[in-house]
């Protein structure tokens, strides 16, 4: 890491220690137990805690918690575009920035915004733009800043970012066509692949591995993600019945995809109710 004169400097480089597990250590696997959290069924989401108005200085703000996953979001704007040379725009722009706190993941993250965070920021603004009536504020900019305080599952973290950002936008009183709810799902094989027990270093034939149909785990946490074959994150506007973003990685068959999209849409409708509730609560607070 280059020396950063604007922060208190530590050593030039440091690494996380290697973790050695005791022999009797039994990590969770999808082959033995249903889910990492034994109270959940594959289609169950984690309970969502959503609250608005924690950042008094922001125009709108929200906080979301899915058990260990914790994100905060602050919305500023619409305010005039500051950057020079952007030219006139008859539509407003949505500027989204997400930052993982250095202590938010198992591995310590850098203090600077890395490439992944930049891409995520772009994904979030792509997924939120369809919902916002940007034509109402030309020449202006809406800034959405999200800080991930703790991440327990990559997919669920992105999904929660969509949810929390759209609630914060609504809380800021920015006109929207609909709220955007985010939901993630992982494809996890629930039986041990037949070839895995072989001790030869020879790669197994492709046919043998393709036969396992994975199960869809909604809102997977970090332990579960370790076993995933692929995952999908869907951002969805429940009232308009529109997906605003979809991000899938890993190998999956068409049938699994369509099934998981359906599951996610269903889950988004549930999340939508939570979002509505949180927003109604914030109105009640204002009127009291």
């Amino acid at each position: 890491m280059a020396t950063d004169r604007k922060r208190v400097a530590g050593p030039e480089s440091s690494v996380a220690p290697l973790v050695e597990y005791p022999i009797d250590h039994q990590p969770w696997t999808p082959f033995t137990e249903k889910r990492h959290d034994s109270h959940r069924q594959p289609e169950d989401l984690r309970p969502i805690y959503l609250k608005t108005g924690l950042i008094s200085e922001a125009n709108g703000s929200a906080y979301i918690e899915l058990e260990k996953t914790k994100l905060t979001c602050g919305v500023y704007g619409p305010r005039p575009v500051k950057r020079a040379g952007q030219g006139f725009s008859d539509r407003g722009t949505l500027n989204c920035e997400i930052k993982f706190a250095t202590f938010s993941c198992v591995k310590r993250r850098g203090t600077m915004r890395d490439a992944q965070e930049k891409e995520l920021s772009q994904i979030l603004s792509q997924g939120l733009t369809p919902a916002v009536r940007l034509e109402l504020f030309p020449k202006s900019n809406v800034d959405i800043y999200i800080t991930v305080l703790e991440s327990d599952g990559w997919g669920s973290c992105i999904a929660a970012a969509f949810t929390v950002a759209s609630v914060a936008l609504a809380h800021a009183g920015i006109e929207m066509l609909d709220l955007v709810a985010g939901c993630s799902a992982s494809y996890i094989p629930t039986s041990i692949p037949s070839t895995s027990s072989s001790t030869t270093s020879e790669a197994p034939s492709e046919g043998a591995t393709g036969s396992i149909t994975p199960q869809i785990f909604m809102d997977a946490d970090l332990e579960e993600e370790k076993f995933q074959q692929g995952s999908i994150v869907l951002a969805y506007m429940p009232s308009l019945n529109q997906t605003t973003h979809v991000l899938q990685s890993g190998k999956a068959e068409g049938a699994i995809i369509s099934q998981s999209v359906e599951h996610c849409v269903e889950a988004c409708n549930k999340i939508f109710a939570v979002m509505n509730h949180a927003l109604l609560e914030s109105i009640d607070q204002k009127t009291v």
Partner: protein, 328 residues
């Protein structure tokens, strides 16, 4: 690459697409002609150049290098794996918009997408006994990227091959993502990695030697299973493939579908600032999948034909002449 479009031009394109006739005479599901050539840069381990008739021009190079393995301290994963490091860059000469820092966002988006689609490896925690760091279990699956990363490992826990995949966009004529992925797939097909010989020095130490024989090299295993991307652009209520720059400006939402030869979906990503209905989304995925499979077949045939022609020429003692850079 224009950045603005007049309302009348937009209207023209929109209505044309509604009638299934596009500005250049194609129909909605028609692809432009793909010009593909491999082995265009001699200093690389593999290279390819892809052109879509009418503009887009992408040069992809693969360089195989030896480096230390990347081990996850928490799980001990990655000790027996090689790496793929992707980078996409848009040349400032390709478009006025790419000048200065103008291409930064696009570069990052494409690089991240490529990294996710190619080196996303499914779990190796195939057995519950992750307690033993010396991973003896065979990899249960090559990731969505297709490439068998375990084969790129030289000494487990120490050294491995790192494939640096660099894509350079020379000219912009729409549908960049598809061209970049086609080029990458072809470049990996063209890649030859030197063989290595590992020696056991006793007391758990190993050493290796890179065999310096240009004739006796290895291909990248799993290259046939690499995905390509099909970008579908939703314009109005319809969707088209292989959009031209003007059509891209009319696009409400685009969907990138990564698919491999057996029709498995290897990645999905929405782009642009519009929404898609879930039912249309599924329809588009299905469409992209079918189209991708046929396209892969055509590309494979092209690569195969080129390779065969080269071998025949070599056997006959004729020089293998590539069309090179300025060929049309």
């Amino acid at each position: 690459m224009p950045s603005l479009i007049s309302p009348s031009e937009r209207d023209y394109i929109l209505k044309g697409i509604e009638c299934n006739i596009r500005a250049d005479g194609r129909q909605r599901p028609d692809y432009r002609e793909v010009i593909l050539e491999t082995g265009v840069i001699s200093q690389t381990s593999g290279s390819a150049r892809v052109r879509l008739a009418g503009g887009t021009d992408v040069l992809v190079s693969v360089k195989a290098d030896i480096g230390p393995v990347l081990v996850d301290p928490e799980t001990g994963e990655g000790a027996d794996k090689g790496q793929i490091i992707c980078n996409v860059e848009c040349a400032p000469s390709a478009s006025q918009q790419f000048e200065g820092r103008g291409a930064d966002e696009l570069n990052n988006e494409l690089t991240q997408m490529m990294t996710r689609f190619l080196s996303h490896n499914t779990t190796t925690l195939s057995t519950p006994s992750s307690t033993t760091p010396s991973s003896t279990g065979a990899p249960n699956n090559n990731g969505a990227g297709g490439i068998n990363l375990s084969k790129l490992c030289i000494i487990p826990g120490e050294q491995c091959w790192i494939l640096y995949v660099d894509a350079l966009v020379l000219d912009y004529g729409g549908n960049l993502v598809d061209a970049v992925f086609m080029g990458t797939r072809a470049a990996i097909f063209d890649t030859r990695i030197p063989k290595t010989e590992v020696q056991d020095l006793g007391d758990g130490n190993f050493d290796f030697e890179v065999l310096d024989d240009a004739e006796d090299t290895e291909v990248v295993e799993g290259r046939e299973d690499m995905p390509i991307c099909i970008t579908l652009n939703k314009i109005g209520a319809r969707h088209i493939v292989d959009a031209s720059p003007l059509e891209e400006l009319c696009t409400e939402a685009k969907l990138v579908v990564a698919v491999n030869r057996s029709g498995e979906l290897c990645g999905l990503q929405k782009g642009q600032d519009g929404g898609i209905e879930p039912s249309l989304l599924l329809e588009m995925i299905q469409f992209g999948k079918t189209l991708g499979q046929t396209l892969i077949k055509q590309l494979d045939a092209k690569i195969k034909a080129e390779a065969e022609a080269d071998t025949i020429k070599r056997q006959n003692g004729q020089p293998v002449v590539k069309l090179g850079f300025f060929a049309q």
